[in-house]
C-alpha cells in the first residue's frame, strides 16, 4: 500500500478502514457500475452477437462492425450520419460557442443594465422542452403558415425566404442553428461565470495600461477564460455526438429530407428500434452505439492529450 494518507487512517484497524472506504465510496461505485459501466459493457457484448429470424442469438465476433463499415447497405447511411454529425458539431463550434462567448463578454461589461433579465432570457430556451422547441420552429419556418416568410417580407427581404427545413441543402444547417438557439445559454453562463472570476483590479490595470474594453476582452479576459472555453467545446462535442431529440422531434426518425439531417443518434434509433419497413436490429444497434462510444472516446482523448495539457488554469 502507498503511504498512509493520515495518521488517523494509519492507526485504524483494517476492518474499520475497509468499512469507512465502503461507506464513502460504496454508493458511488454501486450507482456508477449499475447505470454506466454495466450498460456500456453489455452494449459492447451485445454488439458481438447476431440474431437469426427465430430470435436466437449467436456470437459473431466483429462481424457486425464489418457489416457496418463494409456493407454498402449499412456503411452508406453510417458515413452519411457521421458526416452530418460532424457538420452539426462544426456549426455549434462556429456559431454557438462564439456567440456564447460574445454574449458573456457583453454581459460582463461594466455598466450594463438589466443584466439579470438578459441572462434569464438568453438562458430560457435551454430550459424549454425540446419537443416544444422543435414544434415551434417547425411552425415558424413553415412555408405555408409560418411567420418567418411574412416577417422577411415585412422588411423587404421576402425573396430570401426558402423552406429551409425542407431543402436537402439547408435542412441540416437550419436544424443545427435551432439547436444553437436553444443551447447558447449554456456556454454563455459557463463563460460568464469564468469572466466574473477575473479580479476587477486586473481589468483596472489594463485600463490604466491604455486598453479599451474591446482589447481588454481579447488580450486579457479571453486568454484567462480559455480553460472554460475548452471545457465548453468538449461538452459541445459530447452533446452533439449524442444528439437525437431535436432531429427526431422536427424531422422524425427518418431524418428527412432524404436523410439530409440524419445524425448518429437517429441512425442508431432506426437501427436499434426499427422504423416503418425497417425491422429493429438490437445487435446491429449495439454495434452502432459502440462505434459512437469510440468516436466520442477518440475525440476526448485527442482533446485531453493535445489541448488540455497545454491549457493552464490561472489562480488569481
Amino acid at each position: 500500500m502507498a503511504e498512509p494518507v493520515s495518521h488517523v487512517t494509519a492507526q485504524m484497524p483494517r476492518a474499520k478502514l475497509a468499512g469507512l472506504l465502503l461507506f464513502f465510496l460504496g454508493p458511488a461505485v454501486v450507482i456508477y457500475t449499475l447505470f454506466s459501466i454495466y450498460p456500456l459493457v453489455a452494449t459492447m457484448a451485445l454488439s458481438t452477437y447476431t440474431s437469426d429470424t427465430s430470435g436466437a442469438r449467436s456470437f459473431v465476433g466483429l462481424a457486425n462492425f464489418q457489416t457496418l463499415l463494409g456493407d454498402a447497405l449499412w456503411s452508406k447511411p453510417f458515413w452519411n450520419a457521421l458526416g452530418n454529425n460532424l457538420i452539426f458539431f462544426v456549426v455549434h463550434m462556429c456559431v454557438q460557442n462564439p456567440v456564447g462567448i460574445a454574449l458573456a463578454g457583453l454581459l460582463s461589461l461594466p455598466g450594463v443594465r438589466l443584466k439579470g433579465f438578459y441572462r434569464t432570457v438568453m438562458f430560457l430556451p435551454t430550459m424549454l422542452s425540446v419537443v416544444i422547441v422543435g414544434f415551434s420552429w417547425n411552425l415558424i419556418l413553415s412555408p405555408l403558415w409560418g411567420v418567418a416568410s411574412g416577417a422577411l417580407k415585412a422588411v423587404g427581404l421576402g425573396s430570401l425566404f426558402a423552406p429551409w427545413l425542407g431543402l436537402e441543402s439547408s435542412a441540416l444547417v437550419t436544424l443545427s442553428l435551432i439547436s444553437v438557439w436553444q443551447f447558447v445559454g449554456i456556454p454563455m453562463m459557463l463563460i460568464y461565470a469564468a469572466l466574473l472570476n477575473i479580479p476587477e483590479e486586473l481589468i483596472d490595470a489594463a485600463r490604466v495600461d491604455g486598453l479599451g474594453q474591446f482589447r481588454i476582452f481579447f488580450h486579457i479576459k479571453l486568454p484567462l477564460v480559455l480553460p472554460t472555453i475548452s471545457l465548453v467545446s468538449v461538452l459541445t462535442f459530447v452533446a452533439n455526438f449524442n444528439a437525437f431529440d431535436l432531429i427526431y422531434s422536427v424531422k422524425g426518425a427518418l431524418a428527412g429530407p432524404n436523410f439530409a439531417t440524419d445524425i448518429l443518434g437517429t441512425f442508431f434509433y432506426r437501427t436499434f428500434f426499427g422504423n416503418q419497413l425497417q425491422l429493429g436490429n438490437p445487435t446491429m444497434g449495439a454495434a452502432v452505439a459502440t462505434v459512437m462510444f469510440f468516436i466520442i472516446l477518440l475525440g476526448l482523448c485527442l482533446y485531453l492529450f493535445l489541448v488540455q495539457r497545454r491549457i493552464r488554469r490561472y489562480a488569481f
Partner: protein, 362 residues
C-alpha cells in the same frame, strides 16, 4: 513629474456620499500619503485621480491640465494595486511592455525602459518568469516596474504593501522611498499603516468619512493635530482623551478641570467659563512623576511589554481607561496606583466641536 490639484471633488453612489468636497493640491515631486480608517474613501479618491471611477462633481488637474474626461491612460498616471494585478498569462517582461505597445512606444524604447526598470528593481533575473513563479515581494516589484516603464507624471499606489509579510513590508517600504528619491516623481500613496505613512510621506492627508480632516507634514500632524479625529488617528497606541470644562478665567488664562486629572492651567484667549473641552495626551508623553503641567492618576490594570517600551493600561477615577508608555525594565505592577505627568507642549486641547484650541500651557 507634475503637480496635481483636486478641487471640490465629490463622489456619490445613489444617496450615499463617498467623497464630500475634497480639495487637495499636491506639488511637483511630492510624496503624499492618504490615510484614514477603512471605508473612508481613500481608494475611491485614488481611483478617481486615475480615471477608473468618474466624479460626481469637481475637477482634477494633472500638470495643469484638466483631466476629468480623459481615459486613465491619457492622464499620465500609473497605478500599483494592492493585489499587484499582474497579467497572469504574460511573463514579467510582457507584463511591463504590454501597456506600452498600445500607447505607441517603439520596441527599442520599450526594451530600454524595461532594462532600466529591471535594473532599478533588481528584476533582471526574473524577466522571463511568469507571475505564478514569483514571490509576493517580487510580484510587487514587477507591479512597480510596470508603473515605472510608463514614465508617468504621477504614481498612484493603493495599499501596495498590505499583502506582504512584516519583514518584506519594511524592505519594500525602503525601496519605494529610494525610488522616490531617484525618480523624483509625484506620488500619491494610500495606506492604513501609520508607520508607512509617517516614514514615506512628505505630507500626509488624513481622511475620514469622505472628507479630508487634515493635511500636513508627518510630525506636524503628530504634534499639532487639527482636531480630535486626527489626534486619535495618528499615533499608536492612540492619544488619551479626558473630558474637561473651563472653570474660571483669570488674566487671560483658563483653569480647566476634569474628573480624571488635576486642574490644568492654560492660556487661551478664545475660551469662556463653562466651555466643554477635551484634553488629549499621548501615551508616550506621560511619565511617572509627582506634579506636572498635566497630572493624572490611575490604577494599573494591565501591562503590555514590547521590549523597547511597555504600555500600562490604567483605570482612571471616572472609570475609563488610559494608556501610558513606560520605558525601561521596571514596569508598574497591576493594582498599583500611579501618578503620571506630561509637559505642557504635549497637552492638546480641543473644543466642544472637536477642533484644536491654540494654547500655551504652563
Amino acid at each position: 513629474m507634475a503637480n496635481l490639484s483636486i478641487e471640490h471633488l465629490n463622489k456619490r453612489y445613489g444617496a450615499t456620499t463617498v467623497l464630500n468636497d475634497v480639495n487637495l493640491s499636491i506639488e511637483d515631486g511630492e510624496f503624499v500619503v492618504l490615510v484614514g480608517p477603512s471605508g473612508c474613501g481613500k481608494s475611491t479618491l485614488l481611483r478617481m485621480i486615475a480615471g477608473l471611477d468618474g466624479a460626481s462633481g469637481g475637477d482634477i488637474h494633472i500638470a495643469g491640465k484638466l483631466v476629468n474626461t480623459l481615459a486613465p491612460a491619457e492622464r499620465g498616471i500609473a497605478m500599483v494595486f494592492q493585489s499587484y494585478a499582474l497579467y497572469p498569462h504574460m511573463n514579467v517582461r510582457k507584463n511591463m511592455t504590454f501597456g506600452l505597445k498600445f500607447t505607441g512606444v517603439p520596441p527599442t524604447e520599450r526594451e530600454r525602459r524595461v532594462t532600466e526598470a529591471a535594473r532599478m528593481l533588481r528584476l533582471e533575473e526574473l524577466l522571463e518568469r511568469y507571475p505564478r513563479d514569483l514571490s509576493g515581494g517580487q510580484r510587487q516589484r514587477v507591479a512597480i516596474g510596470r508603473a515605472i516603464v510608463r514614465e508617468p507624471e504621477v504614481f498612484l499606489f493603493d495599499e501596495p504593501l498590505s499583502n506582504l509579510d512584516a519583514a518584506l513590508r519594511v524592505s519594500t517600504r525602503v525601496e519605494i522611498a529610494n525610488l522616490h528619491r531617484l525618480l523624483k516623481s509625484t506620488i500619491v500613496y494610500v495606506t492604513h499603516d501609520q508607520v508607512e505613512a509617517m516614514t514615506l510621506a512628505d505630507r500626509i492627508v488624513v481622511m475620514n468619512k469622505g472628507c479630508i480632516e487634515q493635511v500636513g507634514k508627518p510630525l506636524d500632524l503628530y504634534y499639532e493635530p487639527a482636531n480630535l479625529f486626527v489626534a486619535g488617528f495618528i499615533g499608536s497606541p492612540a492619544m488619551n482623551f479626558f473630558e474637561a470644562e473651563v472653570e474660571g478665567i483669570e488674566g487671560g488664562r483658563a483653569r480647566v478641570t476634569g474628573a480624571a486629572f488635576r486642574t490644568l492651567d492654560i492660556s487661551a484667549a478664545s475660551l469662556k467659563v463653562g466651555d466643554r473641552l477635551t484634553v488629549g495626551v499621548r501615551p508616550e508623553h506621560l511619565v511617572r512623576g509627582e506634579a506636572g503641567a498635566f497630572t493624572a492618576e490611575g490604577i494599573v490594570e494591565l501591562v503590555e511589554r514590547l521590549g523597547e517600551a511597555s504600555f500600562a493600561y490604567l483605570r482612571r477615577v471616572d472609570g475609563k481607561m488610559f494608556v501610558a508608555e513606560v520605558r525601561g525594565r521596571q514596569t508598574p505592577a497591576p493594582g498599583e496606583t500611579v501618578t503620571l505627568v506630561a509637559a505642557s507642549p504635549d497637552v492638546h486641547v480641543f473644543d466642544a466641536s472637536g477642533l484644536r484650541v491654540a494654547t500655551e500651557t504652563r
